[in-house]
């Protein structure tokens, strides 16, 4: 998970970041369920994990939509980003 986070932060390309977001989300769901088994309240953690998974899906789509729009706006991202800031 830390490695995926590193990729999301450094990520030379946009694809790296997007895949990293997805991997973090998926691993989080599994971790939540493991925590549920650990505490012996699996039925409650299933709810939390479901909610987390559903919202993580939106985050992934929003992030990819963001990159899609930005890409179209600026043909060469490094130069365009600097110019915009």
């Amino acid at each position: 998970m830390l490695l995926a986070l590193l990729r999301a932060v450094k990520g030379p390309t946009v694809i790296d970041r997007l895949v990293a977001i997805n991997v973090i989300g998926t691993k989080s769901i599994v971790l939540l369920l493991f925590a549920g088994i650990l505490f012996g309240q699996l039925e409650m953690f299933v709810d939390i994990a479901l909610g987390y998974g559903l919202l993580n899906y939106i985050v992934s789509i929003a992030a990819s939509r963001y990159y899609q729009h930005r890409r179209c706006l600026e043909p060469e991202p490094p130069a365009g980003r600097e110019a915009q800031s």
Partner: protein, 347 residues
């Protein structure tokens, strides 16, 4: 209920990770990366809440902190800029801030020994009100999930005002960001986020179909969360966030026009007010029935069941009100943030 593990096996690594994520999120220059790290930070907080046995708080953290607020941050970045400018110089000012923060933190840390131990049975919280809630919740309200009964019944005033706070936040964002299109037709900032010329709306067929498939299930799950909040983690806030998120998903995967053709702006704001109104109306109804404000027990004349079941149903009504407000405020906040207040196109 409580984990059998000692604190350091589960909580210590998590706390270290939380601090690490917080530092990383503050030090990253790319704000998109910071938003992602912030989401991971929220998830760690969610695990910590879960470790303390506060599953409702963990649920809220997962829904709000990791889900919707990340979307809000992304759409804010979309309308501003993803890179951060550091102001050169100002060393003395930074030093001053550093000293202030260190002194304040030192004061806070010096107060730490006065706190009761973690899970101490003699701490004021555990010794005074908690036993009352634990022993009275089931006979009073028939609600096994203490958090729900405390939130919506014993502490109903607090929750009413929290809902009002959500309402006010929505109104505030609305009045700051919303621009009438007619007044901005000659605004020069229109070119800033112009519709990409090469953008083909049909290129995201998979996303559209997947979202179309997902939305009903999300809404069903959200309704379950609201209605089943008496027995499991969840309630109006969490369910409302998930309901709002399902509509945000529609707005993100299709476009804002599609969503606004379904939900008129005026009816949307009206519904935000309706939720708070429903909550307050339940309270007023209690007043008319001869009880105190938000004393659901007096509603047993109109609601089925005896006094305890009436309180349970009153909690449900109130949770529905909270859910409506939260759902539509999330949506209103999102559409304003994503389109910079123009409600035309956006993230």
């Amino acid at each position: 209920m409580m984990p059998s593990l000692p604190i350091w096996q589960f909580d210590l690594p998590l706390l270290v990770l939380v601090v690490l994520f917080a530092v990383v999120a503050l030090s990253i220059r790319n704000l998109m990366g910071a938003a992602i790290v912030f989401g991971a930070y929220s998830f760690m907080m969610c695990l910590i809440w879960a470790g303390m046995g506060a599953v409702d708080v963990a649920f809220t953290e997962a829904a709000v902190g990791a889900g919707v607020s990340t979307v809000f941050i992304v759409s804010t970045i979309y309308n501003t800029s993803a890179t951060m400018k550091r102001r050169p110089g100002g060393m003395a000012f930074k030093l001053f801030i550093g000293v202030v923060v260190t002194v304040a933190g030192g004061f806070l840390l010096s107060a730490l020994p006065d706190f009761p131990d973690w899970g101490d049975p003699n701490s004021p919280v555990n010794a005074t009100v908690a036993p009352y809630y634990i022993t009275h919740s089931i006979p009073d309200t028939h609600v096994p999930n203490l958090v729900t009964s405390v939130l919506a019944d014993y502490r109903g005033f607090d929750t009413l005002l929290e809902t009002v706070v959500v309402f006010i936040a929505c109104i505030g964002i609305y009045s700051i960001l919303r621009i009438e299109p007619a007044r901005t037709s000659i605004d020069e900032t229109d070119e800033e986020i112009a519709a990409p010329a090469s953008y083909d709306p049909t290129d995201s067929l998979i996303v559209r179909q997947a979202s179309r498939f997902m939305v009903p299930f999300m809404q069903l799950f959200a309704l379950y969360v609201i209605a089943h909040g008496h027995y499991s983690p969840g309630g109006g806030f969490q369910g409302g966030v998930i309901l709002g998120a399902s509509l945000i998903l529609l707005a993100v995967s299709f476009d804002l026009k599609f969503l606004l053709s379904r939900w008129r702006e005026k009816s949307l704001m009206l519904l935000v007010a309706t939720g708070v109104g429903l909550y307050a109306a339940v309270g007023l109804a209690c007043l008319f029935m001869g009880g105190n404000f938000l004393d659901y027990g007096t509603l047993d004349a109109v609601l089925p069941g005896k006094q305890d079941m009436a309180r349970s149903h009153g909690i449900l009504l109130v949770e529905i009100g909270v859910g409506i407000t939260v759902m539509f405020s999330m949506l209103a906040i999102h559409i304003n943030l994503a389109s910079n207040g123009r409600l035309e196109r956006g993230l």
